[in-house]
Amino acid sequence: MLRWTYPVLAVFILVVVGFGLGLTLKEGVEVAGFVKPDQDPERGRLMMHMKNTTRISGNVQEIHDRLKEAIPYEAAQTADYVPGITNWKDFVKSSLTIDSTATHVIIISAGGEDALAWALPAIFFAKYNNSPLVFADELAANRNLLQGRKAFIIGPEEFITDRDLEGLEVHERITASTPAGLAVKIARYRDSETGFGWGREYHRRTGYFQYVITTPFEALQGLAALPLAGSNAAAILYANEKGGLPGITDAYMWSQRPDWFVTPSEGPFRHFWVVSERLSYAAQGRMDLSIEKASYPDLGHVALGPLEAGIIIFIVLGIAGGIFIMVHSSYMLPGVMLPMKISWTLGSMLLPVLGVILYFSAYRRPVYHEHKMMRWLRPQNIQSAAATMMGFGYGAPAMIAVAWLFAYFGFPIFYGETFNETVFWLGAGMPVMMLGMYLGAILLAAFLVQFPMKQSMMEMENGEMLWNALKVTFLSMTAVSLGMMTFTWWMMMTHLPMMPQEDDIMWFGTIWIASFVGFIVAWPLNWVMIRKKLKNGNM
């Protein structure tokens, strides 16, 4: 007879854990900007600087004048006049100084503001690096600069045709499908032989990289911010005309998030300078967050570091294994009792790969009958695994569900003056949560699984049966908890610099791996219980 308690407990676990994972996914959706915040985060602001983003507001003249006044260093000096659509070429020429020892030369197009938009990322590099720079319509007049140097042609053929380049000895075109793409390309590109390009790739973790953000439609504002290339080694990146961040810029920014090993006061840091009247508040907030320092084991709540990536794979493999066992056992193992199927399904979700291997090891065995019930003839190790799974399959997911509820509603803490100071930790959130998840899981598993299971299999007084159920559950859950709690404490309180919140993938990752460890610890303890015939491992 099917007891209602098993599926009810399973549904409770799946609803709670599913809700938690759903909230974590919602976080991701918020990152993508699909969900607007409930409040207006721009309302009431007095200025627009942020911790990793400085906004220089104003038109071209205002930006030019402000930076001329604010940055006195000779290396950062640009022409005294304001760049405009007709004189930007002269402005660039007057603002650059060339290094006679440079082994590369940059060729950019001359023309209107669209030509400037394509050329601007290279102009910024030339300003910082003192690179020789030649306009495409003045190649003939500057043969001396081109001679013996590798030429880098910036932008598509639409602006600099191959015919323009006839006679050039060594040259390479650097272009992309959009100015935003080209800006990212130049930020990442490095020709080590000639020293062209910023070479700001993800793996260069020690660089103090700064960037000026504008839009291709405000390239003149960007040019007015040229002093920042000289003083701060700032490269150009582009937002789009609607004030948002194109995918290529966005992805590059997140790759620039710096990490820290001992304290976040370590270098390096990264910084953005916004010189655009179009950039939205949402985009600026996102930029600011993208380069917030994060601890080295992971890359913070948002950026996907190796630890988060590994954890996601771990969890997905576990869930896939659980679903496979649910489907497989439903069709292929009609003789297995439903409580066992549920147990294997839930337990395997926490044991990626191992769960499926153990499942097959447990059921690809000769069958026999005992008290009219099917049994599988298994070696003792596999009996121990199956017996562990019976307690673990309900207990560990129940502990996760209870722990998540604690985290979601917040840990209760107690710190009254009269509280005995030697056991202050009994009032601390983490021990309270651990005690709660341990006791909660024991009660849930004892009343909803062990008790009804024994009721259907044994003839015994209810009181005695309940006591028996509690004892078995206590032993099983204590064995699982030994590994699970220890790992959770080590990971959350010692290893990770910040305890993850209930909607961080790291929270689930920690507790998922802790469950795996719990199983590994409980397995040999169950081996002893099988040996002493305290448990049955052939179900």
Binding site: M47, M50, S57, G244, S265
Partner: protein, 421 residues
């Protein structure tokens, strides 16, 4: 039809992944903001121009927390009266993770100003998981104002009502121990009855906002009972590791010796409050702390910044209420210590320190950079001083700011304008 629907699944999944790359478009930001013009910048500094403590606190939260989503919102909000010792104590113990709380001030009448209330609404704090998802920490806030927060903003509030700063430090120590299941063994100790006690401790308070260690008060010539009680809680043979902020004239040698009964005592102090802030920025103490047969953890106290490539918070030493909330800049963003200055002069001790950490050309593709926050408007720290600080933070030599940061390659002084004839 069914086949067609099946084909749509990868398409829909593909579109979802594509759009998940981000959507950040929106109306232009930053038009006509009241203090944007006054928030002057240089290449290596940005000013947050608060003219009073309440406005300064707002500018700081707006700088640190964009609040467009949960991950760049505050964890909670701290609300305190304009009382230096109370605010200083609260900032020491509440700011750091897992709470992640900036500080706001009540006005002179003990009310929450409309601007502060709006900023509290804008921040929409996430809540502190380790403390029942509390969103506001109200320290000595009148009950009527707490109710306003609960009723209008629907935030969960934890109240700390203790007007004696010494006892408040003890209360917050108990609360923090429950929050973290531990008493941090490193304890910063400042003098509550010395007129410059807070100023000498300002830098170390920044370290606590950054790292969340312990804090206690003493008197210049005695140790209060509440502090003794706190120190006794530190477990192990070595007990506490105490860092006294100020020289013997601030915290007497007698007190230092008495504190020695509870563990290891060191001073983080200079000749004056400016020197104390500079010493604090470079101070580092590490070594043995706690463990059993295995799992020994070291003590590690102080910024220990003695090289280029860091961030600093520059504040006028007399602007105590403005400086206290500013250490949130050491808690998020680029992180870094407080350096105290005058209105229009860089004290020699701070200048010497900045010379030591001055950047230099180090790489052809970029350079090591420093960064500084200027706390307060022009009347608090002058524009000229901001520019002087910028020179110290820059990678250009102080004597000749004209050298390039690109190393020692010879450059043609003629511009392209002259060569491209």
């Amino acid at each position: 039809m069914e086949t067609c629907n099946m084909k749509l699944i990868p398409l829909i999944l593909g579109l979802l992944i594509l759009f998940s790359c981000g959507k950040s478009e929106g109306p232009s930001a930053g038009a006509d903001l009241a203090l944007q013009e006054e928030s002057t910048v240089t290449a290596f500094t940005t000013r947050l121009p608060g003219s009073d403590p309440q406005t300064q606190a707002l500018l700081l939260t707006q700088t640190v927390y964009a609040a467009t989503r949960e991950d760049n919102a505050a964890g909670a909000i701290m609300l305190v009266p304009q009382d230096e010792a109370i605010a200083f104590t609260a900032m020491h113990r509440i700011t750091h993770m897992p709470v992640n709380a900036p500080l706001f001030y009540l006005d002179e009448e003990g009310k929450i100003s409309p601007e502060t209330f709006q900023e509290m609404r804008r921040l929409r704090p996430d809540g502190v998981m380790q403390d029942g998802q509390k969103q506001v920490y109200a320290v000595n806030v009148p009950e009527g104002e707490v109710r306003r927060i609960e009723d209008n903003l629907k935030y969960k509030v934890r109240r700390f009502n203790e007007t004696d700063p010494v006892k408040l430090a003890e209360l917050l120590d108990r609360w923090q121990a429950a929050l973290k299941a531990d008493h941090p063994d490193e304890v910063i100790i400042s003098a509550v009855d010395h007129p410059d006690g807070i100023k000498h401790g300002m830098g170390a308070m920044g370290w606590n906002a950054h790292m969340g260690r312990g804090f206690a008060w003493v008197y210049t010539d005695s140790v209060p009972e509440a502090t003794k009680k706190m120190l006794k809680r530190r477990y192990g043979r070595h007990g506490s590791y105490m860092y006294l902020t100020g020289g013997p004239e601030v915290i007497s040698d007698k007190v230092a010796k008495e504190l020695g009964e509870y563990g290891h005592v060191r001073r983080v102090a200079g000749e004056d409050v400016y020197a104390s802030s500079a010493v604090n920025a470079g101070y580092k103490d590490f070594g043995r702390n706690f463990g059993w047969a295995w799992g020994w953890t070291p003590r590690e106290f102080g910024w220990g910044i003695a090289q280029a490539g860091h961030n600093y918070i520059f504040s006028n030493a007399d602007n105590v209420l403005g400086t206290i909330p500013a250490v949130v800049l050491g808690h998020m963003g680029k992180h870094g210590p407080v350096l105290l200055v005058d209105n229009d002069e860089l004290p020699p001790s701070v200048a010497d320190y900045l010379e030591m950490v001055k950047p230099f050309p180090a790489n052809p593709q970029e350079t090591i950079l420093n960064f500084g926050w200027i706390i307060g408007d022009d009347s608090t720290i002058s524009r000229d001083l901001q520019k002087e600080i910028d020179r110290y933070l820059s990678p250009f030599p102080l004597e000749n700011s004209g050298d390039t940061i690109n190393g020692d390659s010879e450059t043609e002084q003629d511009t392209l304008n002259k060569t491209q004839t």
